[in-house]
Amino acid sequence: MSQTKPYRVSHLDALEAESIFVMREVMAEFERPVLLFSGGKDSIVMLRLAEKAFAPARIPFPVMHIDTGHNFPEVLEYRDRRVATLGLNLVIASVQEAIDTGLVRELPDGTRNRIQTPVLLAAVEKYRFDALFGGARRDEEKARAKERMFSFRDEFGQWDPKNQRPELWSLYNGRHHPGESIRVFPLSNWTELDVWHYIAKEKIELPSIYYAHEREVVERSGMFYAVNEFIKLRDGETSEVRQVRYRTVGDASQTAAVLSDADTVDKVIDEVAATRITERGATRGDDRVSEAAMEDRKREGYF
């Protein structure tokens, strides 16, 4: 028998091919897609996939940042540079502005994760976006693990987990009435480790806070928060300078760093492969509220 070629692709190439397929489907079937870009690693990978999906043409849709006003300066700088290099249109939906105009009210504890949902929904309405790419992964959280690649949202942006559309093969049903929209998650099947392997393979630059650096931090219930304008020392707390990096980048007032000396991609990969705690568990104050915190937020229109 003659030797046959294997014709195999690696799992990373298969994931990339699936994500690119999904992005092209959206571009072909929707009128006003937008990509949610936070400057976090998942949205950065998603942006790279968009670049690859439409090359040699430019990315054919705008990107949107829901700006909580609680930002890491390194991330904002990265965002603006990336958007400029790719020649993209950046829409900024500002939570601070929404507070100032009375659309939402600042919560007593000052956190802005929950109040960003109405801001997101108002921007969707204003710009009449019908498809929103989000970088959420199913391995992040147990409610996300349940969501479709194309997630139908009603005119209030709400997810109804008990009434999701069947999603067979790669036939995605994006049909919707005016005012309704679809959240699309091209990275659904990627894990944190896949994302890092891809960052290494594609040599993708990230905001520096993803790599180990020295920072003044304060320890709160086992998590290390940067001491800065959003997080002030409370009575009895002391700060210390530690070697840390960020595993996720969310609202700067609620995202904690992890102790780490991984200052290169390869060291981060080793660290992620060995870690025994999920990325949200290690870094997000907002997820600890209740067992179903994420499901509840999604029902309200959150990503």
Partner: protein, 432 residues
């Protein structure tokens, strides 16, 4: 709980292949527990996840940690102790990366099971050893064969509750084997397990000295999937036309898509459907540069040597090997709408590869009883979760193959034109 033996490895060495599998079987047969166990034994569970599950179990008064809570992530699922919708979970061993779809056993949620199984390379069908095959086990076994999931594993679970009695195992195995023979089910493997205690999951258990086959994990790691793909029939559904409006890249016109089957190479003669025009492949582009070959599941951009009119929904194939260009379709349909049945005369939107059309139901040949496989030819409609053979007529031709030959160019969905809901899944038997 103590961790089992397996080392997770630097989980994702880059060159691993991917196996997608789905669970199936009746309510409470232990699907979610099995997935929890697999994740636990492969050290995929993180400490904070395990803690959360232990706390949740304790507060519910469970006697042991309920590993099903690892996948039953919705509030309603945890309250009712059942799975409602598919949960996708991931793990890797040094050999493979796995994408798991843990599906619900409850009949009401069959469409979610179908969602999970439609993309699977392998299905794990669970049976409770005490109960044996029940109607829902047969329904799910039938659905996996209808969806042509290439590999089946029957897991005879809860063997701890029947004292690991070989006679129990043999009886269920025999019964299933003869049922599967009627389904022309593909590759079948049968494993006795206890999902709860982890027997024959990550390693072979000494509780079943009479069982000589592999552990479940060993089977998942070694089952041969490379030849499941169709590398013969070139099918490239055009998704999107790339035409940069740019001063640096001029006159570029590429057809973007994902290879459904076959192998494409520059220089190949191709035919474009439905027009039937022929051309040659000028190049196969990716953002990383041109490639010498494209095969499934690659997403690429194909350029042709001739300027011909091609748009989304067209199909690139070979002149001597083309799908049918067909408006009359016979297909098995799994109906998924609880608000209205499928009836003759009903009109729907049909989505097939990258093509969307309208369709009318011309005939319902029979409805199938999944338990006996009896065909009811007098049936007037298909209700929720019912399966039958129908005739459809479409407004424009579909570029279609038999589903048994090609899962991508043989499958379609029906969408309700007023609610926009996905109401039916179809598998083409004949296209004319």
């Amino acid at each position: 709980m103590s961790q089992a033996v397996l080392e997770p490895d630097a989980a994702a060495a880059r060159g691993m292949d991917l196996l997608r599998f789905a669970t199936a079987g009746s309510v409470d047969d232990g699907k979610s527990t099995l997935i929890g166990r697999l994740l636990f034994d492969t050290k995929t569970i993180f400490e904070d996840q395990l803690e959360a599950v232990e706390t949740a179990s304790a507060s519910r008064g469970d006697e042991y940690t309920n590993l099903a809570l690892l996948t039953d992530g919705l509030r309603a699922e945890r309250e009712q102790g059942i799975t409602i919708d598919v949960a996708y979970r991931y793990f890797a061993t040094p050999r493979r990366k796995f994408i798991i779809a843990d599906t619900p056993g409850h009949i009401q949620y069959t469409r979610n099971m179908v969602t999970g199984a439609s993309t699977a390379d392998l299905a794990l069908i669970l049976v409770d050893a005490r109960k044996g095959l029940v109607e829902q086990s047969r329904r799910h076994a039938f659905l996996t064969s209808l969806l042509r999931v290439p590999h089946l594993v029957l897991c005879i679970n809860k063997m701890d509750l029947v004292d690991w009695d070989k006679a129990v195992y043999d009886k269920i195995a025999d019964e299933f084997t003869s049922f599967a023979a009627k389904l022309d089910a593909p590759d079948l493997t049968i494993i006795p397990i206890s999902a709860l205690n982890g027997d024959n999951i990550a390693s072979r258990s000494d509780k079943s000295p009479w069982y000589e086959g592999p552990s479940l994990l060993h089977h998942l790691e070694h089952v041969h999937i490379a030849s499941d793909r169709n590398l013969v029939d070139v099918r490239f559904p055009v998704q999107y036309v790339i035409r940069p409006q740019s001063t640096t890249v001029t006159d570029y016109r590429g057809y973007a898509g994902q290879v459904a089957s076959g192998i494409l190479k520059p220089g190949d003669d191709v035919m474009v459907l439905p027009s039937g025009l022929t051309s040659k492949i000028a190049s196969i582009d990716t953002a990383d540069g041109p490639v010498e070959e494209a095969f499934p599941p690659m997403s690429v951009t194909v350029r042709l040597t001739d300027e011909i009119d091609i748009s989304r929904g067209d199909m690139i194939c070979r002149p001597n090997n083309a799908p049918a260009v067909a408006q009359d379709i016979e297909a098995m349909i799994c109906w998924m709408d609880e608000t209205a049945p499928l009836r003759v005369g009903g009109k729907y939107t049909i989505k097939h590869t990258t093509r969307t059309a309208r369709t009318v139901v011309r005939g319902l040949q029979y409805r199938l009883d999944v338990n006996t496989l009896h065909r009811d030819e007098s049936a007037g409609e298909l209700g929720l979760n019912e399966i039958g053979r129908v005739k459809l007529r479409t407004t424009v031709p579909l570029l279609a193959d038999e589903y048994r030959r090609n899962r991508t160019t043989g499958g379609f969905i029906l969408v309700d034109e007023s609610t926009n809901r996905t109401v039916g899944a179809g598998m083409i038997i004949e296209a004319r």
